[in-house]
Chain length 409, copies 4
Amino acid sequence: MVTIKDSVHDHIEVRGVAAALLETDSVQRLRHITQLGTVHLVYPSANHTRFEHSLGVYHLANTALDHLGIDGVQAERLRAAALLHDVGHGPYSHNVEGVIHRHTGKYHDDVHELLATGEVGNVLRESDLDPERIADLVAGNGQYGQLVSGELDVDRMDYLVRDAHHTGVPYGTIDFERLIRELTFVDGELVLAEGNVQTAESLLLARALMNPTVYQHHVARIAKAMLRRGAERLLNRAETTPAELRRMDDHDLLVALRTTPATAELARRLRTRDLYKRAVWAELDAVPEDVVDAGYDTVSELESAVADRAGLSSEAVVVDVPDRPSMTESTSRVMVSGEMRRLGKQSPLVSALRTAGKQQWRLGVYAPSHDTDRVGRAAVDALGLNLDGALVSDVRPGVTATLDEFTGP
Amino acid sequence: MVTIKDSVHDHIEVRGVAAALLETDSVQRLRHITQLGTVHLVYPSANHTRFEHSLGVYHLANTALDHLGIDGVQAERLRAAALLHDVGHGPYSHNVEGVIHRHTGKYHDDVHELLATGEVGNVLRESDLDPERIADLVAGNGQYGQLVSGELDVDRMDYLVRDAHHTGVPYGTIDFERLIRELTFVDGELVLAEGNVQTAESLLLARALMNPTVYQHHVARIAKAMLRRGAERLLNRAETTPAELRRMDDHDLLVALRTTPATAELARRLRTRDLYKRAVWAELDAVPEDVVDAGYDTVSELESAVADRAGLSSEAVVVDVPDRPSMTESTSRVMVSGEMRRLGKQSPLVSALRTAGKQQWRLGVYAPSHDTDRVGRAAVDALGLNLDGALVSDVRPGVTATLDEFTGP
Amino acid sequence: MVTIKDSVHDHIEVRGVAAALLETDSVQRLRHITQLGTVHLVYPSANHTRFEHSLGVYHLANTALDHLGIDGVQAERLRAAALLHDVGHGPYSHNVEGVIHRHTGKYHDDVHELLATGEVGNVLRESDLDPERIADLVAGNGQYGQLVSGELDVDRMDYLVRDAHHTGVPYGTIDFERLIRELTFVDGELVLAEGNVQTAESLLLARALMNPTVYQHHVARIAKAMLRRGAERLLNRAETTPAELRRMDDHDLLVALRTTPATAELARRLRTRDLYKRAVWAELDAVPEDVVDAGYDTVSELESAVADRAGLSSEAVVVDVPDRPSMTESTSRVMVSGEMRRLGKQSPLVSALRTAGKQQWRLGVYAPSHDTDRVGRAAVDALGLNLDGALVSDVRPGVTATLDEFTGP
Amino acid sequence: MVTIKDSVHDHIEVRGVAAALLETDSVQRLRHITQLGTVHLVYPSANHTRFEHSLGVYHLANTALDHLGIDGVQAERLRAAALLHDVGHGPYSHNVEGVIHRHTGKYHDDVHELLATGEVGNVLRESDLDPERIADLVAGNGQYGQLVSGELDVDRMDYLVRDAHHTGVPYGTIDFERLIRELTFVDGELVLAEGNVQTAESLLLARALMNPTVYQHHVARIAKAMLRRGAERLLNRAETTPAELRRMDDHDLLVALRTTPATAELARRLRTRDLYKRAVWAELDAVPEDVVDAGYDTVSELESAVADRAGLSSEAVVVDVPDRPSMTESTSRVMVSGEMRRLGKQSPLVSALRTAGKQQWRLGVYAPSHDTDRVGRAAVDALGLNLDGALVSDVRPGVTATLDEFTGP
């Protein structure tokens, strides 16, 4: 057993297969992947890593297993899955993930392969654990998979509290001890016990407040989109392969960008926080459906189209289309008067938060500050944005954001 | 100047008239009024007082004055109002306040009198401050009164954070520094500056989560209702006068209850936490309008009616009708795209929280545990509760609550 | 089982005999005894009670039992002792304790009696626990008694962290989780495992910093000495008996002082924080040995002597002689290179802290502010204080303290 | 003005020249230098950077300037110095600094040059600030330089609290607000005002507890020594120049080590935490004076000597000789009874802590785990270690440390 001091959960005891997994390259690599990627450009204290988060998730999974009375091989599997749940992560963000998927195939297969091979695979097999089953748990499959990846999973509980601790934003401060104490299985479903509608709502609300304030802060989004752009260029020019890219850590990617002439300027901008600015920041209603649903392929085409219209090289334009707002917590289950109910059915907050999520959604088009005016106007035309009324909000197209770029909200 | 160490705001500097006010009996008395009254029976760490809260409100007012650039006599007035905003408080809770009002007149007049007389009046006049104007600020009147008592007041900011710190419930953790930094006056109205819809929502959400979890916890409500019952009896039997009652501190009231034969048993129960239990816990839809709107007068009549029907003495029944759910924050103002908007207009959360507030509303009827069955059935008849469907929730009438009475939610 | 939310340890689970003991009058009474007594006059947030502290000690004891692998009846006994360790406490402070002892006998007998009788005795016997053995554990007897009362006991761990949390003074922030994890029994002695000299020192240092800053702050000492004075007068005039006094809670004592003419003025002063001021504040070297060793009896005589010399009634003089500085942690045991060593032998800090403790020791003589000059001069004569050099420090005799009386250090 | 959210000080307002300096490459580079270097291998949450620390130091300097009433150009200079105080830092640790010094000249000259040239020099000159004078303040020269670098500087106050927050070790929790409030200038010296001997001691004690627990943890030391070894090899083989090395950030150095064949194995070990183990861990008394005083030059020779004796290549041996224990805080000044005194004269703790510092000093000799036995014995001979008695402590030479390598102390 090893005991590790954590700034969020204090002492974390790591035992059994988890202690052996801790020493593998795949887990040690997570020390070099930050949890929040470019968010540290907004909140300078947010330098925590997926390594400490993985330990936290392991710790909460352990607490939940104790509480639920799960032990034996089932518990070992879950502990392994909790510690390993992020080893498939590429450098930086889900944004870069998207680029990789576009060039390869499915995320899930990759995790299966990762867990089955190399040091991790060896450790699992030596402990008589089937990598395939661990990968299923990581994917949230089966009754117990819900603990690792589901509406009430310990991953979310850890990251909300940890991100709040490290950014200094107090909104993620959920009562995770209570959440875990109230978990129970009913008919194979993970639910919160009677009397916990508010407990479930608190999880939802924490994410609803952290989202615009931290996770979707426009400065972090701009930097993330620039990174995505750079990664794409590396792949397009065969400077790296999708497989290599996926195994990079954060700084490896920065180095690759810096040492490749086609991306060196992007790298300089990211390093010195000399970021692009918003040329367009448009609400959901102002954006045509096909633009909202543009996948990673189409985004490049949109960027080219805007750049052409603006008479600029395509390097000068970054288009950033977030996913449609979702709210997985709305399907979390809670017991009310003896029956299992979906939170979305029970709580009037769920649909309100869904509406709020839509209100907060923004299409971003970014450009070097001297080009935002030109790019803004070009984007309105090229993307068919609807500018009737105040539909392009916060910043007028073509105008650099007036909000202080350093300030967290 | 005196510097005081506070567990929430660290060092608080008290200057000018506030330093002199600090030494008056009226302010020192607040050391003996707990902030959350009977809530400590649920959350044992919640023993903080209105004295430290008043210092906190003074401190935040000071910060806001600095930020808003208000100084001179206007600032001195506001600082005095912030420190004095709670001196009119009777012992324990708003519940006891209600009893006093019923026997006297208006709360507001009383504050005017309190501030104009005694040591406080002397200190204010010596500092050339008109007690009348301070009382107006305490009442939230005028442009600057909004800082002390209004939708965005510093009172609320302090108590949410302080109550979270002392109960251990993490939901009140608002970003009060940000809230204060974003305050501004537009056309004489206190508003949050552009880009702060979420900031405003966070205040609303914090209260929405603290409410059922802390402020309206059923155990705290039962104890509060028992206290209210005792205070009423003291007044009815002329054991004390409304004026005397208002000037008591928490323990004075307990002593009065203990030493008066008619209330000695109530006092014993409160002291040893041998509380009444819920006989009825009914949702808003199950309760006739006239019962919901029963004022303090009518409650006694309802209690007699239930007791009669149950064939018990009226001591055995406590009826607890909370105010209809309100949400003052919904009228807080925030700048959006250059215009001032009510949060209720801007945020889809407001109406959802209003609905949630209604869902959480409960009529309580309490009785000694061996009588809850009888009293529950009698109350359903006497109050005309509608028991179709699952309208009486959480506990069946006449059945002791199955929830753990010690547990915080 | 009941689960209680605590602001220091988060969720505390109370099981078995402890859950039953929690409902007894003797334990519920601790809700009304503050942990730090008059310290709240310096640190207004310090209103925490012996009830929540007792829960905390119970919780840490439980954690230690798990860690040490102690279970069965031995564990039940220790859990009971942890929860009950403070039920023998009189109102307020050890100072009042002293008064009671002087009028009765030994503290220890009293605890034995308290645990054997009434509700507590019944609960213990129903759980097949011998009250006598519990009282022994509370007294720190036997191998396991060291966990409850000894150099490395969980009492101290809880109060340091809790007092830091509630005063806002950061010095008590020990790593109690580590301390408990490193506890082990060697040859029947409770020791810290190898590699923990610093861990042991940290406990010592935390107390060494909290002592002058919090526990021995002069304002808290003045108020405490005034309370002791009042309690003495109540007993001398047979207004109350030692047995009654011991069962009072904090406010009961204030009420008794207020309603007894001979102590009414003291009560008013305490309530409105209109405290006596320091007339003398003398270092250890300036005070004759027999004064330093004055017990509770002699103090009254000293007060009369000073008052006589000053030509004042004895009410105008309070003499406050603290115990000689001790440092029980210096005997705590820690494993070094495979052998058990006393911390005092191993750590050069121990003797330094002992010296520091002596340097900080102060004799206090207090009087109403208009009499401090007179009383100061009289005390120097009557007590034979040595005033050569700067031996009377911080305040000159006869001069009101210039330090801000509100300020925590 | 920009406002930045910090996890330690909440909102930090950056104004004037500091806001302009913030955007320079030299300051942005600090985002990529961790505050505690290899300590994150022991405390995984310790990933905070010199960027956020520099902001914290700026913030505390600002607070101190307000408190001391310093404004105008003097204040602007100090604010610039506070923000810039770490821009001269090379990658990772002081250990690597040593290597650079050995290959170049003085640290101080370099800072002068750094501040005078490039973007930083331009910004300073545009603000009419003389880079030379800022460099002097950074070096702690002059009356005001003491605020930035001295016994009571704000640098130390920030790092103690920040390192505690991020490691989770509670010992660094000093009361920095109080420290700053009590600062004053007397005869051109920065001192703590009357009544602050304990305040001064608390700073000393915090560092004394953080030192062995965090800063000198053996695992962090091993990794640091391995890094130093790698940097040396890069310079020796002219793979990089001292000037280039100094401008690297943490990851740049790891990349340089990884891509240079002679250091690739070291890089792999550091990345996967496959560290050398202790072959010797010797107390001060066991080590000859000339070894204790070995500078960076001599260490290489010692390593060769040990390797020769062991019959191994010099890569297999890392010798790690820490500086002799110092305690700069012992010269901090505090007012006692109206005169300025050195803390070392006033407080008995100072010499005790100096003794403790000596007791904790350890010479380390590290080797791959399969060679520790051989290297340990060779080192005892080659370095002339005195092994009479138990002078080589904690681990016997030639035996891998039995302490859990993952565990924080």
